[in-house]
């Protein structure tokens, strides 16, 4: 799964790895870590510039999580929401600025333009939701929620669970992939058609890049918001 290039895959312990994905994910993690590390130096009671930025980000993600998850659970999920948001923000935007292809093999791109990555995040969110649901309500009540409002709804509820998983991951993947795909297409047109084409395509590339940044940020926000909603649904007893 790639744009403008094939993948370098290898198998290790019976698992298939994609080198491009691994490098991108690692890079995204490092960028997030470096960013957060840089912003969290000299933490004082009266915040400085960097601390203000970090606190704003923390407040922002806490707001996302807190608006759908009530009470104590939202405090617990604050770190999760913050990390997820920061990672997705960086990962979504990474491919727009940095796209490394080496002899046709993609090594650096947006990790979230790969469905495997986004579906994994989606899976993690829903697993977390199940886990928190069981922890909050106990096995019996948690799984009884699938039978509400009546028993036949089990099919609908299970199906909903599956579609939640699918849409959460595919929405992010689709948005980021389309952004990158168009960027690659524009780049291809620019480099393939001589200097006139190159200059002509530059504003188009700029515009699309700006638009993609916007979409990337929105998608990071949407992903965290929807994840919080799915989790909040699982830790509340459904009213019949």
């Amino acid at each position: 799964m790639s744009i403008g290039g094939s993948n370098h895959t290898f198998t290790f312990l019976g698992l298939t790895f994609n080198a491009g994905n691994m490098i991108s994910i690692l890079l995204a993690c490092l960028i997030v870590l470096a960013l957060v590390f840089a912003l969290s130096r000299h933490i004082t009671m009266k915040p400085g510039k960097a601390q203000n930025v970090l606190e704003y980000a923390v407040d922002f993600t806490n707001g996302i999580v807190g608006s759908s998850v009530p009470g104590e659970a939202s405090k617990m999920l604050g770190l999760w929401g913050f990390t997820l948001f920061m990672f997705l923000l960086v990962a979504n935007n990474m491919g727009l600025f940095l796209h490394v292809d080496v002899s046709g093999i993609t090594y650096v791109k947006s990790p979230t333009s790969d469905p495997v990555v986004t579906m994994t995040f989606s899976l993690m969110t829903l697993t977390l939701a199940q886990f928190l649901g069981v922890r909050k309500l106990g096995y019996k009540k948690h799984f009884e929620n699938y039978l509400k409002p009546f028993k036949l709804f089990l099919i609908v509820n299970l199906f909903e669970e599956f579609t939640n998983f699918l849409t959460l991951g595919l929405r992010l993947f689709g948005n980021i992939l389309s952004g990158e795909m168009l960027l690659t297409m524009i780049t291809g047109m620019a480099t393939g058609g001589g200097p006139v084409m190159w200059i002509g395509m530059l504003p188009l590339e700029l515009i699309w890049q700006g638009f993609s940044v916007f979409i990337s940020c929105i998608q990071a926000y949407v992903f965290v918001t929807l994840s919080s909603v799915y989790i909040s649904q699982k830790i509340e007893v459904e009213e019949v």
Partner: protein, 169 residues
């Protein structure tokens, strides 16, 4: 140029594991590096602000209480001063009356004693003059008139004369 594979055609299971593990490690590192200190500081700050608000309210209450107390004390002091002035005024009035009364008393005493003195002196003067006049008139009479008239008759004559004088007066 583009090569897409259908989802599931080649599932990179290793990537899934890699994403999960890297995400968890990232979460842990962020917790260690930034999350804990920043949330602690934010909590501390909100606590401090809450405390400040509380203490501000407390001190405002205290100030209001103090002002009220001072107001009450001021009123009390004014009242005290008023009563003090009133007492002083009354005392003054009484003293004035006393002094006037004493003066009047003394004046009347003086007057009466003076009158008594005058009366006494008058009496004395009268007695003296009576004596003097008697002896003088005797002398005069004895000088002017002859010595036929004795002292007894002369005294009687003078007495009758003086009595007539007193009545005339």
């Amino acid at each position: 140029m583009f090569s897409y594979s259908v989802v599931g055609a080649q599932l990179y299971t290793g990537d899934m594991v890699f994403v999960m593990i890297s995400f968890l490690i990232l979460m842990y590192l962020i917790k260690l590096v930034a999350w804990k200190p920043i949330t602690k500081m934010m909590q501390n700050r909100s606590d401090k602000i809450a405390n400040d608000i509380d203490s501000a309210k407390e001190s405002r209450d205290k100030a209001a209480e103090l002002a009220q107390k001072r107001q009450a004390e001021l009123a009390k002091t004014r009242e005290d001063a008023n009563s003090l002035i009133n007492t002083a005024k009354q005392n003054g009035q009484r003293q004035r009356e006393q002094i006037v009364e004493d003066a009047r008393q003394e004046a009347s005493n003086l007057k009466s004693s003076a009158e008594k003195d005058i009366e006494q002196q008058r009496q004395e003067a009268l007695a003296n003059s009576r004596k003097d006049v008697a002896s003088l008139s005797i002398e005069i009479a004895s000088k002017i008139i002859s010595k036929e008239l004795n002292e007894q008759d002369q005294k009687g004559l003078v007495d009758s004369y003086i009595e007539g004088l007193g009545k005339q007066k």
